[in-house]
Amino acid sequence: MNRFILRLKLLLRDRTACICYAISVIVMFCLLLGLSSVSEEQSAIPVGLVIRDDSRETEELAENIRKTKAIKVIEGKEAELKDQLFNGYLNCIFIIDDGYGDKVRAGETEDLITVISGKDDRMSVVISDIIAGSMVYDICLNKAYRSYRSLISTEPVPLNAYNTYVLSLKEDPSYDFSFDKKYMDPEKKTIDESEVTNGMIYRQMIAGMLCMLLCLMAFVSCNCFCLEYENGVAYRLKELPGSRIPTFLMDFFGVFVYTIPLSVAAGFLSKSVMGVVYSLTYLILMCLICTVLSKSVKKTEAYQLVGAVLVVGLGILGFVSVFAELIGGPAFLKFTPNAIYISLLL
């Protein structure tokens, strides 16, 4: 017990380190809190939109695209949007070409919109599918209206009135087709009724960052053991009576207690008591690994190198696990500590 108190005192005595610890954690939390507050809005895929046509159809299409939750529309001129595309601010650019309205009214369906993307970009295909959802109604309406005009012998109803009638059908729930979506976990065989929101990936990323912060804190806190080996204190302490395992445990416990405020803050960010429990469990694991690592490596530089590989490696595996299945990555990533923490926290 004495050793534990001494270890804690030693850690808290380095005021510069404590101030750095506090400032760094506060800054990181402000950053994560800021990102967390905009998760819904920022999760939408940013696409550029250039409007070169001024017809009613174009206006309606642009309005529908703007309303699509999955997409964040940035409007502008082609040159400036291309610039943003090259700088990584946009995924792709959609250009509603001049004559879009005329083409739709004429029942044409070829090359209505130009899509500009990188040569290997696959996401723009999915975004096109989403945008096509906003175009299909107008295209079908005009095709059907042309058929209507050719089918009747009397004076046809004007397009506007025809459109008003068709739109009134849309209000009727029996015509509003929708897929009977069920979200199911194949392992638990349970159906989840909750609605899917836009910010899930974003929140997973934030949980991943939080996890990396905890791992990093455990890692830097255990550096003290290396320094003790370097200045010979650790070898002197070995000469004192006492078994190795309790000594190791007291050292580990001292470092763990030093990092506890961080897990409480992590729980606050996750807005749940269980978040504190998960963070504490994760910290125990990381403090244990880092204590073993620092006592085995013994040199600060080597510990920094191995520890960086550990923190970055686990962090990257955790982040990749978020996208693993989406980008076709290996399934084992789900079982890394960071991936488990991310899935538990959400």
Binding site: I19, Y21, V25, V27, L31, G34, Q42, K69, F86, N87, G88, N91, E110, D111, T114, S117, G118, K119, D121, R122, V125, V126, S128, D129, G133, V136, I139, L141, K143, S147, L151, Y165, V166, L169, S174, Y175, D176, F177, S178, F179, D180, K182, P186, E187, D192, M200, Q204, M205, M209, L213, V220, E301, A302, V312, G313, E325, L326, I327, G328, P330
Partner: protein
């Protein structure tokens, strides 16, 4: 002095072995990621219980659409087969076109297509849910326009089947709505490439931290003061050490990128190597300067590591730049991560 600094770096053999291991692991990881992430990502099952010409059209659309198949691997089967495959975790989602679907659609009776989505992967769940909603819009558009046409024509002998078929084909042929222009010199922002760039700058940041740590330990051991006392200028000490680290790191990164290019079938343009060199110079200078102002190794370790995490998060190393809020982008402009990714994106690997 520069040669001696180089010798000093190479004198620690254990560190060199660790460094070599790190390079090998990083290169292997990058190549593994590039090779593993090729091919469609979502496994999508479709069962046709309706067995009509129109329902077949829908199945064919999913199965043979080139654009769709880039992202979705389509598996056709019976409802039972798909259920079993889903339970085994072999499918991410499946749709069942119910018996009588086309007949009901033609008589304007809403008969939903059962869609089961695996909710264990939240990332895919979001995408699949959005796409299912989009496809609902296609079907609604066809259905209400057929009904509208039938009502407006108002003739009992009018059969809307032909028009309905035309509208269905129009909706399914929506790929023709778009004229695609790809920019050859721009690779596009695939997540894998983005995270490779992010990983490279992260390694450079840690390399810089390591250079700073060496510099700090020299300062704490009064090595610098000893050299000053024998007439070596402080500037010379700093730049000699900086140059040695920059040279070693550039060579190592050059070899690593060369291996990635050779084994991972990626093209690494020379200008990308120049950006890597530039990033090494900036990052090493930054950390070596920080080490001049910090009093202890633990404080440097906390400050340095947190600085790396901060610049990585705020600079778009974790959440891609395009998804960062504007306030964050304003901060990102002060980080090396942001500039490195931005420059590399324009060059592409």
């Amino acid at each position: 002095m520069f040669v001696k600094d180089l010798k000093l770096i190479f004198s620690d053999r254990k560190m060199l072995i660790l460094l070599a291991l790190l390079v090998i692991i990083s290169v292997a990881g990058v190549i593994f990621c590039i090779k593993e992430t090729r091919g469609p990502a979502v496994r999508f099952g479709i069962a046709d219980e309706d067995q009509t010409e129109d329902s077949y059209l829908l199945v064919i659309y999913f199965d043979e659409n080139e654009g769709f198949n880039e992202y979705f691997k389509v598996v056709r089967g019976t409802k039972k087969e798909l259920e079993e495959a889903f339970d085994r975790g072999e499918l991410d989602m499946y749709m069942v076109i119910p018996e009588g679907f086309t007949r009901n659609l033609k008589s304007y009776v809403n008969m939903p297509i059962e869609t089961i989505i695996n909710n264990s992967d939240k990332t895919k769940l979001e995408l699949m849910s959005i796409l299912a909603d989009t496809y609902s819009e296609y079907i609604t558009a066809v259905q209400i326009n057929c009904k509208g046409l039938t009502d407006m024509v108002g003739r009992e002998d009018f059969d809307s089947a032909l028009v309905q078929r035309e509208l269905v084909l129009t909706a399914l042929g929506k790929d023709s709505f778009f004229r695609r222009k790809t920019i050859d010199r721009f690779e596009g922002i695939s997540l894998v490439n983005y995270y490779i760039y992010s990983g490279i700058i992260l390694i450079i940041l840690y390399a810089g931290l390591f250079a700073g740590l060496k510099s700090l330990k020299e300062r704490l051991g009064k090595a610098g003061e000893r050299l000053v006392s024998v007439g070596v200028g402080r500037g010379k000490i700093f730049f000699s050490s900086l140059s040695a680290f920059v040279l070693v790191y550039t060579v190592i990164m050059g070899i690593a990128l060369g291996l990635i290019a050779g084994l991972g079938e990626l093209t690494v343009p020379p200008v990308a190597i120049f950006f890597v060199f530039l990033a090494i110079v900036v990052v090493c200078s930054l950390f070596m300067l920080i080490s001049k102002f910090v009093k202890s190794v633990p404080a440097y370790m906390i400050l340095g590591n947190m600085l790396i995490l901060f610049t990585t998060i705020a600079g778009g190393g974790i959440i891609p730049i395009m998804y960062l809020p504007e306030g964050c982008i304003a901060v990102a402009r002060f980080t090396p991560t942001y500039w490195f990714i931005k420059l590399i994106l324009q060059t592409g690997f």
